[in-house]
Symmetry: C2
Subunit: 197 residues, 2 copies
């Protein structure tokens, strides 16, 4: 299915066509493909090169781990995420390793890494869908995440599938056009609120 | 100058060759180029499609605004950032617009947008360098940033220039090889600390 963004200015094809599916084909990425996807995250920039991102990854061919991960999602996400072949969590280190002090840029840096991961996946024909709807405490307990690390997001990786496999309300969202604020509302020049473009 | 990452697994060329220069050529991106760079950020995914990112952008051809922005950086960044043609700030909305509640994923989402911006810039021959070393209160005052928005990072955009233009200590960093933790230390499978790759 084609849900290319209606961009106002030209952007990379992988950015224009990237979206977050809820319907997935059964295809499972190979270990080499997954390695490239996480390698892309690895090379993101970060404050003091602290690399605060950690990933917990489960794949459907390890049914025990996958089910454990699935049970940490909120109900409304389990409905569709159970059909993805890869279910993972993004974890943020709370402190800098070089001095033990709190790292206020950890979430931002995790976002930079995740952004590279998503586009790498997209370039290889895989889609990633990031979710906020999960239970951090369940993940911490189920996967033995130590203190000092914060559960930031869940995400799936898979190949976009047939929207007809989704419940009616999700099917509608799956095929709706993609919307964003205009740049005039988010990019300012000189002073706050003064549109740059 | 070539500082391609020594990747363990193949990744997109724009990811492998991306880095954060401190030496810049004088070239200024056109308005169309800048529009594409920010359009890339626009299409990032975000929690509830909240799009919490805002950007304040100054360019060297508006010397007043650029100097105002420059004076908000920490001294060690002013030294080199003054040579970049574009100096900007990334700002995070603290609350969801649809219900006014705090958005715990705002920094993550700003990172996703910034990640797309950086790779779009890279694909067009421009480099972005994100900085934590700036004074948020000065930016808020200088650019009239309202309550409810958090100053998250500063960044420059420019074409990587001649490292010889930098002071000795920065010149060394500019040409050092790029290092990252191995994937075995950041990507876990099944349980925390169990390497996936």
């Amino acid at each position: 299915m084609e849900r290319r963004a209606k961009t106002t200015h030209p952007v990379l094809e992988i950015i224009a066509r990237r979206w977050s599916p809820r319907a997935f084909a059964p295809d499972l990425p190979s270990k080499d493909e997954l390695a490239s996807i996480f390698e892309a995250a690895r090379w993101a920039p970060s404050c003091f090169n602290g690399q605060p991102w950690r990933f917990i990854v489960t794949t459907k061919d390890d049914a025990g781990s996958f089910q454990k991960a699935l049970s940490c999602l909120r109900e409304q996400n389990i409905i569709w995420a159970q059909n993805a072949p890869v279910l993972a969590f993004l974890v943020a280190g709370e402190n800098f390793e070089h001095n033990g002090k709190p790292n206020p840029w950890s979430d931002l840096d995790c976002g930079l890494a995740m952004g590279q991961l998503i586009l790498q996946a997209e370039s290889m024909g895989w889609s990633a869908h990031v979710m906020a709807g999960f239970h951090p405490d369940k993940v911490r307990e189920a996967f033995k995440v130590p203190e000092g690390f914060d559960l930031l997001a869940a995400f799936v990786i898979g190949k976009a599938g047939d929207p007809e496999t989704l419940p009616e309300d999700l099917k509608e969202r799956e095929t709706a056009s993609r919307e964003r604020k205009p740049l005039s509302g988010t990019v300012f020049s000189g002073n706050w609120g003064r549109s740059m473009f």
